[in-house]
Symmetry: C2
């Protein structure tokens, strides 16, 4: 099914039955090495997370903050696909570069006034296709207004944390 | 090097020369399929992101919001390792479960009053080890105050987006 048809069918289904729109995503994590984590996501995919040697790990995989950037970059790329179809914008290629800055004194507790996470993130999007620059700017605005992971970066999310007592 | 020794050495280095604390992370993304994205992170690791069939993809890998949850869960797990060492808390095992809720009407633009990203996230941490419940609560509080990706979820991050004109 072409992407535009899929999007129209999805919009129709979600409008007529909003309970279908309530999606729940899950991930399970096991600290299996010094800093190595085995991840299983709800849909059946598995992968590894680790830290580089400079952060005390074995460098067997990307680290958590790199996965966070990849989550943002891939969400942007896929949102370009979906919103180009929705707006009827032709698009031959999408590349996204992300950079994020962290002051490591926050994480290690050297100075608790320094936030532990990213203090700045930059996204560079490169679109290739036959449309005008104005049309691609319009597409980019639609993507940024609807990209789930950009929303996560730009706005706060309510998070509850529960500790299961040790046995 | 034991984790506690690594952490002490890192804290000393970061305190004496704060320029060493400025870390920059990078990820590059190519939309290589219908919703398939090839990711290269700065440190040389590669992986794939895709959407499940229900979201129009080929389900070859976890999707962006699952990677976002995995980023949070793995960051929590590793922060338990690092902060247990820093606080001298013994810890035999760490498991983290994350659930996140999204109303898909936001992403598809069915209703622009609905945020496209997570509206709620729940973290369940299971610690196994010989310490008292109070000691593990103290550890969890230290982790939550210093976990970089929890900071990303709970607080807003300044994000700039630049569009390279098409050629």
């Amino acid at each position: 099914m072409p992407v535009a048809e899929f999007v129209n069918a999805a919009k129709l289904a979600l409008s007529s039955d909003p309970t279908q729109a309530q999606a729940r995503f899950r991930a399970h994590h096991d600290l299996t090495g010094r800093t190595e984590v085995t991840v299983k996501v709800g849909s059946g995919h598995r992968f590894t997370v680790d830290e580089p040697a400079a952060l005390g790990g074995g460098d067997t995989a990307a680290n958590p903050v790199e996965y966070a950037l990849a989550s943002l970059g891939s969400c942007q790329a896929i949102s370009y696909r979906v919103w180009a179809a929705q707006l009827g914008v032709e698009l031959d290629r999408v590349e996204v570069e992300i950079e994020g800055d962290i002051d490591l004194r926050g994480f290690f507790g050297v100075d608790d006034r320094i936030r532990p996470g990213f203090n700045a993130v930059r996204i560079r999007v490169r679109l290739i296709g036959p449309e005008s620059a104005a049309r691609y700017e319009e597409l980019a605005a639609a993507v940024d207004a609807h990209c789930p992971v950009l929303d996560l970066f730009r706005n706060s999310v309510p998070v509850e944390r529960e500790l299961t007592p040790p046995h």
